[in-house]
């Protein structure tokens, strides 16, 4: 067994600063409303002389414009649970603790080529989420946590992989790193027992009698003499995340940075479950219950943060926001199985299909779905019905070679058709019985009788001609069989 512990020091502060730090001094308060105390203070507040445990009133006296946020334990637990869900991409065994998480990694060590690479990858990921964490590696979960805590307080401890070395590695660590009751710690200090090595030298029975069996049990678990079973955290089958912005954000650009962090979180959670989402709901909160909702929809389940961010950027760019944004939330109600795309050694049709899909998604996100389409032949003789907007070329036939280019229209290649077809035939001016379009039209070929569609009420009965004007432009014109004097322009050759 090998455990990696992540410790997030001053978690409430980290949660509050996730959407981007501001230069102002501010603190998180806790305790009774009558006399709140400072739970954590940010860097600017510390420089003003504010310390943890001070009364908020005293802190306000030290820093003029101090912002005070109340501590929200449920938000902390939710953040840790999301972090645990995110860490599910590294190992199935993740456990949520106070102020951190522990991961059992022995089973996945090979996949990530060793614990050094793995911890580096985890730390990199945590930074992308907008958190900073101290990391501890040890053969027991408790020891990993103690090492991570020591690291968070600036004590250098080398990570330990071998159970036999654990005792010497931990020997010099102070006892206040343990989650023991403050009373116990105070009495141990009074007795001159300050470090781990001191307490390990003492006889266990005496310790149990004096401080209770729980202390002895935790020491045995620390050293791996007694098993320390943990329940793995099972994330819910949906994804929800919310970030409050440090200040009201005008416009859209300021939202992209926190959005990137939420999407990184989403990607990790989805990766841990082998899932992706076809629809993501992004909500911008403007205060006073005013919200802007934005749905990000994809043709197939997606989870890559960069890609989703690119789509979101286009969609957000189109929005006109009525009010500044104060918070962002992201929601995926259904996580669907994600089919990972294998990378090919040589770029081939799979990459092409992916590139196509991505391109069409990106274009449709900005221009609208109905403005990006493919074209296909339809089985009809009426010119306006012999084509139809096809499905996106990205989704049909992707990767099917050999089916490309059917090699001609149902007409064969004897009769030429114009490259441009007008959406609606345009009535031509006729002078002296001759149609004209920027000059009298000279008929070059025709007529070609197209008479069809009597069965569906959109009957056409037309004689088509190819005509050109003195400028050399060539048109496809027709006249109604029933009204020979009326000429219409229907297509333009090119």
């Amino acid at each position: 067994m090998l455990w990696v512990a992540l410790e997030l020091p001053s978690l409430p502060l980290q949660i509050a600063e996730r959407a981007g730090a501001s230069g102002d001094a501010w603190v998180i308060s806790e305790g009774p409303a009558q006399r709140p105390t400072v739970a954590c203070a940010n860097e600017a507040a510390r420089q003003a002389g504010i310390r943890e445990g001070q009364a908020v009133a005293a802190a306000k006296a030290l820093a003029g414009e101090l912002k005070v946020l109340e501590r929200d334990p449920s938000a902390e637990i939710a953040a840790l649970q999301r972090l645990a869900a995110w860490a599910g991409q590294f190992t199935p065994m993740v456990n949520v603790e106070a102020q951190g998480i522990v991961l059992e990694v022995a089973s996945t060590l090979r996949l990530f080529s060793g614990h050094a690479q793995l911890t580096a990858a985890i730390l990199r990921g945590v930074r992308e989420l907008g958190f900073h964490a101290a990391v501890g590696v040890a053969p027991t979960p408790l020891a990993a946590r103690i090492i991570a805590r020591a690291e968070a307080r600036g004590l250098q401890v080398r990570s330990c992989v071998d159970l036999r070395e654990l005792r010497t590695r931990l020997a010099d660590l102070p006892l206040f790193l343990f989650d023991w009751p403050g009373e116990t710690l105070a009495r141990l200090t009074d007795l001159g027992i300050l470090r781990v090595k001191d307490i390990l030298e003492l006889p266990r029975e005496g310790l149990a009698r004096r401080f209770g069996p729980a202390i002895v049990l935790s020491l045995e678990r620390l050293l791996g003499n007694v098993s320390d079973p943990r329940e793995p955290y099972v994330p819910p089958p949906t994804f929800r995340s919310r970030i409050e912005l440090p200040a009201e954000a005008e416009g859209v650009q300021a939202l992209l940075f926190p959005l990137r962090r939420m999407l990184a979180e989403f990607e990790g959670c989805a990766r841990g479950r082998g899932a992706g989402a076809q629809q993501l709901l992004l909500t911008l909160e403007h205060g006073r219950k005013v919200r802007t909702r934005l749905a990000l929809e994809f043709a197939s389940p997606e989870r890559e943060a960069d890609f989703i961010l690119a789509i979101a950027r286009e969609k957000l760019g189109r929005l006109k926001l009525a009010a500044p944004t104060i918070a962002l939330s992201l929601r995926a109600d259904a996580l669907l199985p994600f089919v990972p795309r294998n990378a090919a050694w040589l770029p081939g049709s799979q990459e092409r299909a992916l590139e196509r899909e991505r391109l069409v998604e990106r274009l449709a996100a900005r221009l609208g779905r109905d403005r990006v389409f493919g074209i296909a032949l339809a089985d009809d003789h009426r010119p306006e019905k012999s084509w139809k907007p096809g499905t996106d070329p990205s989704f049909s036939h992707a990767g099917q070679k050999g089916q490309i280019s059917p090699g001609g229209s149902p007409l064969g290649d004897r009769i030429q058709r114009p490259v441009w077809l007008l959406q609606r035939p345009q009535r031509l001016i006729t002078g002296d019985g001759h149609p004209s379009m920027q000059g009298t039209l000279d008929l070059l070929a025709g007529p070609e009788r197209i008479e069809s569609g009597w069965w569906d009420g959109e009957e056409v009965s037309r004689d088509y001609y190819v005509a050109s004007n003195p400028h050399g432009e060539t048109f496809w014109i027709y006249r109604e069989h029933r009204d020979p004097a009326a000429w219409y322009l229907h297509g333009v050759f090119s």
Partner: protein, 236 residues
């Protein structure tokens, strides 16, 4: 020592020697005049034409078909009308590779063109656009995007724009002359071509039906026994 024998010395009258990817247009006369023996890939080119419907797209059909090889798309961006599927199929442009993009504004059109070219998913992007602000800068961006995506970018603009400078590596002026298409190349990687190349036939005339005599106000007569097959000409 003759300076002209040094490799890398280029004389004004020659084509550039460096190898650039090109695709044959299918018109031998035109291919001969294009450096590299075909329409350039991975760069922006311009087609200047007066009026719609003189064959300004048709003569590129062969190049488009070749550019779409390897599952790449042909993007029609802000085309004056909807490209008509049967005609494209006749010209040999694979229909299931065509992507029609109808942006609402010039910015959107240029943005779409840039995205399409840069993505690498498109073999060719055809762009129609009226004059926009910062045209040169935008064209330069399209040029860069085409290079990045190794795609063929074709920008269609009016003949009057010939006086404007361009970052494109190829500029072609298409004129209709009776039955043929006359192509002048004022800018290419080499000396400008002043004597126009003549290609192709008039579009649409390659028709199985001969034109019946039409009297003014008269209905055309359709006696099928009169139908003669017209000699087949170059189908493009």
């Amino acid at each position: 020592m003759n300076l002209a024998h040094f490799p890398g010395v280029w004389r004004g009258g020659e084509f550039e020697q460096a190898i650039h990817a090109t695709v044959a247009t299918g018109h031998a006369a035109l291919d001969r005049e294009l450096p590299g023996g075909g329409w350039p890939m991975g760069t922006l080119s311009e087609v200047l034409h007066e009026g719609v419907g003189i064959g300004e797209v048709g003569f590129l059909a062969g190049a488009l078909a070749r550019a779409s090889e390897g599952d790449r798309l042909v993007a029609w961006i802000n085309a004056p009308h909807v490209p008509y599927a049967p005609a494209l199929a006749q010209a040999g442009v694979p229909l299931d590779r065509c992507l029609v993009i109808r942006p609402q504004s010039a910015e959107d059109a240029l943005w779409s063109a840039e995205q399409a070219l840069k993505s690498g998913a498109c073999g060719a992007a055809l762009v129609w656009l009226q004059a926009v602000k910062n045209q040169y800068a935008w064209l330069r961006r399209l040029q860069m995007a085409a290079e990045a995506g190794r795609a063929m970018a074709v920008f269609f603009r009016p003949v009057a724009d010939e006086a404007l400078s361009t970052p494109a590596h190829l500029r072609v002026v298409v004129m209709r002359n009776a039955d043929a298409l006359r192509i002048r190349i004022p800018k290419r990687r080499g000396p400008p071509l002043t004597v126009p190349v003549t290609i192709g036939s008039k579009p649409g005339t390659d028709h199985v039906f001969q034109l019946c005599k039409i009297k003014t106000g008269d209905r055309p007569r359709f006696s099928h026994d009169r139908i003669e097959r017209a000699p087949r000409k170059n189908v493009v």
